[in-house]
Amino acid sequence: MVRRAFSLLLILALAGIFFSILKGWTPMTELSGVARDYVANEKEQLGAMNLVTAIVVTYRGLDTLGEVTVLFLAASGVAVLLRRKRDEAAATVKIKRAASEIVTTGASLLSPFIVMFGAYIFLNGHLSPGGGFQGGAVIASAVLLLFLAHPDYKLKHAVLNIIESFSGFAYVLVGLLGLFLAGGFLDNRFLPLGHFGSLLSAGAIPVIYVLIGLKVGTELATILENMKGRAL
């Protein structure tokens, strides 16, 4: 009871803090400083239609590199913690109930299209809402569907690891190319900006987003497989 009252008090204090912060808050009516600069000059500087993408990949590219690193660390952490020991692997093999025919048929019918949709999302990241992270998550959802339909489904780890390491390495390499050939680390302008609004435009932004999409997709797929393998 005391515990409950105490936690209620804590929440009320938090609500009070929020209230005092929000009391003086008025909705924005104009873009402020740096945002106005981004919106006004982005078309000439980077040539990407999607401003959020331009900010994520180029203006704040270093942030995104760090973000990819965090995701990689989390995936490695999951893999280390859920690693099967050799003697355990044989012991935990149980007979699992197979998925129903509707699920298996639906999964085999839909998963190629889901992967294609994910690829579409990260290829068009600089033109429309979407991008590498979202596309990668969509691809991982196709993998999840396959796991649901076929409980014994095994991913090819060698292929996944190669794709993941290659795309992480190539991401940094593209950043370094920007450093040497253009204005700075992760600058996208060492490739021609192209025609504004076409698929092959905005310099290196599509390249970077494809790499991020592949990396995120493989990482999330590996996390899913590790969790599936252990949580029996």
Partner: protein, 113 residues
């Protein structure tokens, strides 16, 4: 904005008052969603459109037509980090459960004195 604050408060309430570790993680995830909602709301400007320079936006007048893209980019980062953190926390829970066959946080007193 109010919805975001409410979500944050509900999430932290769940984090504090629940004993089941999975429910605590869910509480944290709810609080996270609330924070992201608050951040997007801060960048929202009434009557403007998404920061994508397509047919709906005149590129010369874009500064007056789109909402603030910076908080949206930050929220994108926050969502990805949130996914990573949640995955790692659930992994810890799986490992702990395998050790003691219990999801109750009160059963883990090894770090208490």
């Amino acid at each position: 904005m109010i919805l975001g604050v409410a979500l944050v408060l509900i999430g932290f309430w769940g984090l504090i008052s629940r004993k089941n570790m999975i429910k605590m993680i869910l509480g944290l995830a709810i609080a996270e969603t609330g924070l992201q909602l608050i951040m997007v709301t801060i960048g929202y400007i009434d009557g403007r459109t998404a920061p994508i320079l397509d047919g709906a936006v005149n590129t010369l007048l874009a500064v007056r037509q789109v909402v603030d893209p910076v908080p949206q980019a930050l929220v994108l980062t926050a969502i990805v980090i949130g996914v990573a953190v949640n995955a790692l926390m659930l992994t810890f829970v799986i490992r702990l459960y395998q050790k003691k066959q219990s999801l109750n946080i009160s059963d883990y007193k090894d770090l208490k004195w």
